[in-house]
């Protein structure tokens, strides 16, 4: 909806291409985010998501190059994530070590390992571009004028990512497994006494997150660009973690967060290449902030804070003023690259999250020692 109203007021960059780009860029965040959602609901926070994504990107790239098969590439991506998932599980579940520090170690090791192997294998070779996954147009739907091609002509991983949202909801809330996962994350002692193996459930959660982060990495390397370079994921894994927190540990929330972050990234790419940005753009940004902040004030979201009310008012006024005055403010390209991360920070600051956090998140569980 936003995109139509903005097009009406003449904001150049908002069009169906942007929509399509936003979906593409939201895909890795969504894949990693949904996996991490399962893991965090089971009680394991996985800061190593970034490293697992990078590892997945590397192994899928290398195996696609070697085997010429994209299916093998995708499986290799999952495998690349799982390698570090096993390490994470050993440290976090078997040893009971600090999960956050273990995750940081995995990020460091994956960055070093992929960089090392990439340099050793490819240092004397020219840049190799592997063939990327073809788009599949959904018959009928992709023929809808205007937004049809933008929504329904994408690669299979993108469809899979969006399909996983309802699937993960179903898994978490409508199956015995889901109940066990949530119990392991909320009250592992109770889950244990009900005969659920917290250890096994948490292993499953960690491996799910790792495999999906690896698949998200494959999405980056062999679906989106067809190349690999050092630190290809460049922080996208962290955005997956942000999506889970911003999404308040709900599947639909993760989807919304991934779309906001992917959208911010698409916008950044689009406006970053323009010499200057129409003033209306800034007005639009302020109005989006207004509606997001306003959403927090809706009834049923807890007591209204005066600071939140003030911020909402300020964003609204700023939006209207900017739309009338239309100043030409532009940023240089690197600052645009940082834009999605600033959005992520604002999103974290704006979201009221702590109440929904799984109670036993990042708490090691040992049988017989409450």
């Amino acid at each position: 909806m936003i995109h139509f109203s903005l097009a009406a007021i003449g904001v150049g960059p908002f069009d169906t291409n942007l929509l399509s780009q936003a979906l593409i860029l939201a895909t890795p965040i969504l894949l990693a985010g949904v996996g991490e959602l399962i893991s965090e609901r089971a009680g394991v926070i996985n800061v190593g998501l970034e490293g697992m994504m990078l590892s997945g990107a590397f192994f899928s790239y290398v195996l696609t190059w070697k085997s010429h098969s994209l299916v093998v590439g995708c499986l290799a991506g999952i495998g690349g994530g799982l390698v570090f998932g096993v390490i994470m599980g050993l440290l976090a579940i078997e040893v009971g070590a600090d999960q956050i520090v273990a995750g940081v170690a995995i990020d460091l090791a994956a960055l070093g390992l992929t960089g090392f192997m990439f340099e050793q294998i490819f240092q004397n070779l020219p840049q190799i571009v592997v063939p990327t996954v073809n788009n599949i147009a959904i018959p009928g739907l992709s023929k809808i004028p205007s937004f049809g091609p933008a929504l329904f002509n994408h690669d299979p991983l993108l469809y899979l990512a969006f399909l996983l949202v309802p699937l993960s909801w179903f898994l978490l809330y409508r199956t015995r497994w889901g109940l066990a996962i949530r119990a392991a994350g909320e009250l592992p002692m109770a889950a244990d006494s009900a005969g659920i193996s917290v250890r096994r459930i948490r292993w499953m959660g960690v491996l799910t997150a790792a495999g999906m982060a690896g698949l998200a990495g494959a999405d980056l390397s062999i679906v989106q660009v067809g190349i690999f370079h050092e630190n290809l994921s460049a922080g996208l894994g962290y955005l997956g973690l942000v999506a889970v927190i911003f999404g308040r540990w709900r599947a639909l929330g993760v989807l919304a967060a991934a779309l906001v972050l992917g959208g911010a990234n698409a916008l950044q790419l689009r406006v970053g290449e323009q010499p200057y940005i129409q003033g209306a753009f800034w007005g639009a940004i302020a109005l989006i902030a207004f509606s997001l902040l306003g959403g927090e004030l809706l009834p049923g979201r807890g007591p209204v804070r005066r600071s939140a009310l003030g911020l909402t008012g300020l964003a609204g006024i700023a939006g209207v003023v900017l739309l009338i005055v239309e100043p030409h403010i532009s940023l240089s390209q690197p600052l645009w690259v940082g834009f999605p991360y600033v959005v992520a920070l604002l999103v974290l600051a704006g979201a009221r999250t702590s109440a929904r956090m799984p109670t036993a998140l990042a708490v090691a569980y040992r049988r017989g020692q409450g």
Binding site: I100, V101, V104, I106, A109, G235, P334, L335, A349
Partner: protein, 376 residues
Amino acid sequence: MVARARARVMASSVDVLLMVLVVIVALAIALIFIAAYGVSPGSGISAFVQGAFGSQLNLASTLAKMIPLSLVALGWIVAFRAGRIQVGFPGQIMVGGIVCSIVALKFGPLPGVIHLPLAIFGGMVGGALWAWVAAVLWAKRGVNEILSTLLLNLVAAQVLAWWVQSPFHDSSTPLPQTLPFPNSALYPSLLVNTDLHWDIVVVPVAVLAVAYILAQTTWGFRVRVAGANPQVARHAGISPKSIGVQAMLVSGALAGLAGASLVLAGTQPAMGEAFEGGFGFNGIAVALLARNSAWGVVPAALLFGALSQAGQVMSATVNISSQLVGVVQGLMIMLVLAATTILYVQRARRRGGGTGARAALQPPSEVRSAEVGVPG
């Protein structure tokens, strides 16, 4: 009392032994990697020793690399003792460097006695400022500090890229870097024609200061209580939130000090796009290997300085990518984490105390106080 003191000494020596073992295992795994690429272990080891300590030049570079590593590690320790896991050191180093560059290039000409300390102070303010963003988000909005600092790192990298391309770009070069700094703002060289500058003096001062403040002062006591048991801290009238914010500011200032060293005592007298050089994250590895003890930082930083210096040399001499250093560092953190947690759980089981993953990372002398929440 004597028995307890003896037990503590025993525990410490077991710990030191364990850390040495971890280092040996990690290096052995690295040797396997090296062997996999056709370099014999013998020549691998000799290339390593030669690269890290073999000549005055290499030794000086090893020591120079130790400086930012130690400062970042001390920064991690201060925040960690207060119960805060902040990993924003790369960003804090970068913003520290940016403020340094303002002081060095825009505040002048000044005599060196004033200019250099001012530039160093600027770096510390910059680092603290960047940490303050995460600290406030945590204290006021409950934003997990590890996530906010990771994101702030990514933002800082872009701000730095813009900084050295646009407002502070040296127009005489296409490279993304600032104008050369005046000599009055630079650390003087300690050993001519090497990377070693007078900023090495900062390391013992900072180690002593952090060790003293944490162990002997009221503020240090508050930090330890707030970190070990926020509940007990609140009962004792200590606000874990304000202590956490203060500790993060100190932590950021130490990272900024590391940034000042990298900018004002670097191989070139200007600030480039990539001056951070991975020291921000590697400093965390140093702190973990040192088991979060300020004293342990010195040998751990020396080892990591040697690793990264030797890594650079080895990529030239035996054609092994310097990225291997990253693998070794990640491995060491994992091994330290596993070893200390297992050791801690065993000790706690013997004593019948509780188990906490984070308490396992405290230095052994702190473990008892961490459990009961009062100083030992």
